[in-house]
Symmetry: C2
């Protein structure tokens, strides 16, 4: 999660919402990224989406069996769904996201019968640090 | 929707689940695509995602204000969310998808307080044709 927090900090420095993610297989980091929606002009370029696309490219498969995802914020509905499509084994995340989250908030994707692969979910990892990054970022933008 | 159905048929011919989408602005087609998850080894490469990313690239903005999306199948949770992030104005779709849909099924993304832009939604456009394409495709795969 330290690496994911580093990616979140780098995203903030680029003026992006500070969220970072890392994708791990067999103890090795396959891909890591921060949010790049503004830089890439791509509404789907959330950190989770970027690490999943990169890992799928590296492994040559749209299914990332045995891979675990670490992300600093509760995934949104889009990312919760792509995590399921990619067959991610374990999802570790930091801060909860009552405003946009799709795991424990909103449509709670993994609780739906329309979700056909549910990862093991471990919330609250380095929650305080991940949350502080976001709070500082949005406080700065309101100045 | 005829163009979207053509993209769905082309997807089936490539062995992909037959879903097609077209993105329109001011009466002009900005982008059109069929599902390419297998070909691109990308779990996010649904037709809707591909046309939104391409249009965002063309317009140089992650927000597609004033754009309308036509798709042959009810969008899943991932696509429902990216449609919202992209600020799509109107969503026209064909067949309902009780198995994986995220608009009128599952987490019903647009009914959630975690969804901050809700498009106008017009379901059931050329529903029979879109549904037949999918039925024929999956019947063929069970042989």
């Amino acid at each position: 999660m330290a690496r994911a927090l580093g990616e979140a900090r780098a995203a903030a420095a680029r003026g992006e919402v500070p969220v970072g993610a890392v994708l791990v297989k067999d103890g090795e980091i396959l891909s890591s990224a921060g949010n790049r929606t503004l830089e890439l002009k791509d509404p789907s370029a959330h950190a989770e989406m970027l690490v999943i696309r990169e890992a799928a490219r590296l492994l040559g498969s749209e299914r990332l069996v045995g891979c675990d995802l670490w992300v600093t914020l509760e995934p949104c509905a889009m990312c919760a769904a792509v995590i399921s499509f990619a067959r991610i084994r374990r999802l570790y995340y930091g801060a909860s996201d009552p405003k946009m989250g799709g795991v424990e908030h909103g449509g709670r994707h993994y609780a739906q019968t329309t979700c056909h692969h549910v990862p093991e979910v471990y919330p609250g990892i380095a929650e305080r640090e991940a949350g502080e990054l976001l709070k500082t970022f949005f406080a700065g933008r309101r100045d």
